[in-house]
Structure formats: C-alpha cells, structure tokens
Amino acid sequence: MILGDGLIGQMMEPVEFPDHLQSQPSNKDDWATNGMQTRGSARRNLVKTLYLVPEELNAHNQKLKAKYDRMVREEVRCEPYNLAGDYRVLIVSYGTMSRVCRTVIDNFKRDGVEVGMVRPQTLFPFPKQAVYDAASKAGCRAVISVEMSMGQLVEDVELSVKGVAPVHWYGKCGGEVPTPEEVMEAVRKLL
C-alpha cells in the first residue's frame, strides 16, 4: 500500500523492475490452477476465498491474521528525521507534505528550535511503535499530523500515540500545498 497524494499521483518517471520480481514460486503446483495434466496430479486445485461454514471461515481468518502479524514484524517501514536529539514537537507526515516538513524542521533548527519527524512509508501495518516511541521521548510536548488532506492520517497517529502527548492536525487539500511558513506557524503554536 503506497501512501499517495495528488502530486505523487501525477508524477511519472521510468521504472526498472529488478529481475528477482520475475521469479516463479517454487511451490506453484500446490495451489495454482495450471491444469491437472501440467502438474501430473489427480488432485484439482481451487483458488477461492469464499468460506460459508463459520469454522472454515474462522480458520481462514486466523491464517490471514497470522500473515498480517508477520507483516507487522517484518514489513513496517518509516523514516525518522531529526529524532536523535531532543525535540519539543513531533511531526508525523508522509509523501510530498513530509518533504515540506523537512524544510520546516531545518528552518527551526537554524533558529535553535528542535522539531522531529516520523515519516510513515507503510500505512498498513502502520509504524505504531515508532510513532509511540518518538512521542514518548522526554521533552516532546505535542504531536502534529501534517497532511494534504482533512485528517486521513491523524486518527492513526492518535491510536499510535496512545495519549502520551496531545495530537494536533494541520492540513490543506484540493491540491494546495502548505508552504513551510504556514506549517511553521502551526507548529509554533505548540512550542
């Protein structure tokens, strides 16, 4: 799942697919509908997600949950920015908006004010632990979700912060990109 926004959605550039993406799964014959003759088997394969018997559906959901839990362990990605030292406000932002927020953080640094950021790269699973840890750091007075939307991200941030710091929101939408000055103004209110 890619955290998109209007600008990212309209970007175009060449993409090279690495060779390893073209590899074939080795256990294909266990499940693929490639024809019984192809795999020399008398057992037919069935690809489906419909389970009408509650016990079967429950078992299937448990399997999907285990898969999701593995994603939580292995696939969550986020990028910290200026989190090494102390900071008074934590920004959570993604996509184009996070690029503006970097400028905001750099500008504050020149004025001697420290602001940190967590940039989620995966949305599902959400980098809950990273956001919680960053918000829990001593000296962090507030968290702000800066978005080019009316608050698509802020609820995930609130869930992750679990009340250790107040969570605020700043954003614009319709394709209007908040300027660094506007974001700084919003952050300044929390310092």
Binding site: G35, M36, Q37, T38, L46, K48, L50
Partner: protein, 259 residues
Amino acid sequence: MGKAFHRPEALADVVTHYCPGCTHGVAHRLVAEVIDELGIRGRTVGIAPVGCAVLCYNYFSFDFQEAAHGRAPAMATGIKRVRPDLMVFTYQGDGDLASIGMSEIIHAANRGEKFTTIFINNAVYGMTGGQMAPTTMPGQRTTTSPFGRKVAETGMPVKVAELLSALETPAYIAREALIAPKFINRAKKAIRKAFSYQAADTCFSLVELLSTCPTNWGVTPVDALKWVEEKMLPYYPLGEYKTPEAGRLNPAAGRKHAE
C-alpha cells in the same frame, strides 16, 4: 450389456445446493459431458461467478477459481493469455455477466479472448433474493418489481447473444434453452461447439442458456419450464448468432426455435 448412463468424470459425485427444478444442474452436466468427450479435463480451468453458481467449483472435478463479481472474463483472460494451452471457461449468471460484469464481457468478447463463456439467463437475480435483472421480462414480478417490470421505467430486457454477436470479433455466439430433452440436446451441441472452437484456437465463444428459477419466480418446477417456453423463447430466440464459418446469423428471422 454396457452401462448406458453414468456420471461424467468431470462432474463431482456430490449433492448440489441448487433448489429443486433449477437448471444449473443440467448446465453443469452438459459442460462436464463435453469436457469428458473432448478429453480436456486435465487441462481445463473454470472461473466461477458470484451468484448461486459461485459454488459450482464444488460440483466439477478440475481446476477452478473464484473471481470478483462480474470479473470472471478478466480472470479468464489472464489465465488463457499466460497458458494458451489450457482450456478456460467462465460460468456466469445474468446478474454477474449482464449487470455488474457487462463491461467485462463486452470487452473480453471484443478483444477476441480465446476462452468460452457459459451464460445462464434465468431472468432474475437468484442468490440475492429474486431481484430484477437486466434480463427480467416485461411485466415479470420480482422482489424489486413487485408490480411487474415496467418497460417505460427500466427499458426492455438485454439480449446478450444479440448484443455480443453485433461485435465483429467474437467467433461463436449461440443461445439455447434447458427446458426439455430436445432443447437440452441442442444446448449440448452448442456447448461442444464452443469448447471445440476454443480447442482449435479460435477466439471468443459464448453459449447463453435460458434457465429456470422456480424459487424466485414463485412457481413449481414444471410451471417454470412452461414459463421459459411461453414467455422467454419468443423474446430470446434460440440458435446460432455467430459462427466462424458463416459469420453473423439471424435466428429470429431464419428458423423456429423448436425445429
């Protein structure tokens, strides 16, 4: 003395969930017989619809896949293009094919995808509770047209065989009915032709099968068969609408349905 009647190998030895008098069972059997006769069970992949026949994979004994509602033609396109040596068919009802999946089937047919579609037209949405379908007959009562389908509000029923045969690309389009032995024999011939054309690497083939839904029509199985003959046959003429050899045909003008 040899055994004259047996269950096709391609048909699983299980009891189906279909209602008494439903003709899905007949359609399944015809497909299974054709697959047996052509000897293609080991290289056939079926795509199930959403609707009563979503569980049809439980009644066939070869590879099968579910598809999102109406998207069986897209699934079939992918499988057939990756593995042209496989025999691929979709089995779809009128809600799946002619309503939510109308765009999918038209474009798959027009692209000349080399799979076969078995299209079950029973003039109603079965699984969801007997709502009006695009194929519902004028004046036909359904749960969403309780006073009968009003043509002034909802138009006339969609004729899928005619619609698709208007396209230049598809190879074989036919409509038959599953209401009596003479019709069922004709239907089997059409299904066999459709699969045979695919086996010969000819592009898209579709057989529309007029079917019954006694439960949602609120009639007995016997009356349901009569209803198809009296109400549906005059509006949905049977016959071949397009063949690779003869091109476009007009069964409505050419011959009677019961010949």
